[in-house]
Symmetry: C2
């Protein structure tokens, strides 16, 4: 069944931070939405490249030797094996595109690790 999915409507269905929700699946990949606020944990993904697209707000993406600032309508792709730390001084809404197998904390499983679920 092909359906229209509204990003804004999906965001209205959850408020939790750092708990990605799945809104689509294609070619073994998931499309996810997440609300971010504060600092996450440094991590990397062994076998997954990860796309962050900012829907609302401003995201700081710290890398080992520099940091990127992403505003609304801007995206970056973090290749597998690259350490990164997403930081959101104010709440940010992001769309993620990544393989279904991706764990939010990558190889750093711990308190912040959550299983993404469909919304």
């Amino acid at each position: 069944m092909v359906d229209v999915v509204s990003i804004a409507e999906k965001f209205s269905l959850f408020q939790e931070h750092w708990q990605p929700r799945i809104i689509g699946e294609l070619n073994g990949q998931h499309v996810k939405l997440a609300r971010l606020k504060g600092e996450f944990v440094w991590h990397q993904h062994e076998e997954e490249d990860e796309l962050f697209l900012v829907i609302k707000g401003q995201l700081k993406m710290k890398l080992e030797n520099r940091e990127l600032i992403l505003n609304e309508g801007e995206m970056c792709i973090i290749p597998r094996g690259v350490l990164h730390l997403p930081v959101a001084d104010e709440e940010v809404q992001v769309l993620l595109f990544e393989p279904k197998a991706t764990v939010n904390t990558g190889t750093e499983e711990g308190d912040r690790t959550v299983q993404a679920r469909w919304i």
Copy 2:
């Protein structure tokens, strides 16, 4: 090299309709931008699911027995094997996620077939 990619800036670099430009690559998939205007050709993709996210404007997606209307911030995923016809009464800007191997006209190669290129 991880970089910030601005969707608006990338759109400012081309004006042609129905000629997708590649702005990112991850996990064997491409992120593309396209300007659509008018009616495309009925087609399907044998082995590729295709995501359309409307960045600006309104997209009509005709399917065999119904049609979807997608406004800004709305998306749909057309699974492999599903015949579809994108129609844009006025110009629409869309973001596409699909496997690198995807041909814009699917199995209907012809005049409208183009090779997507990086921008």
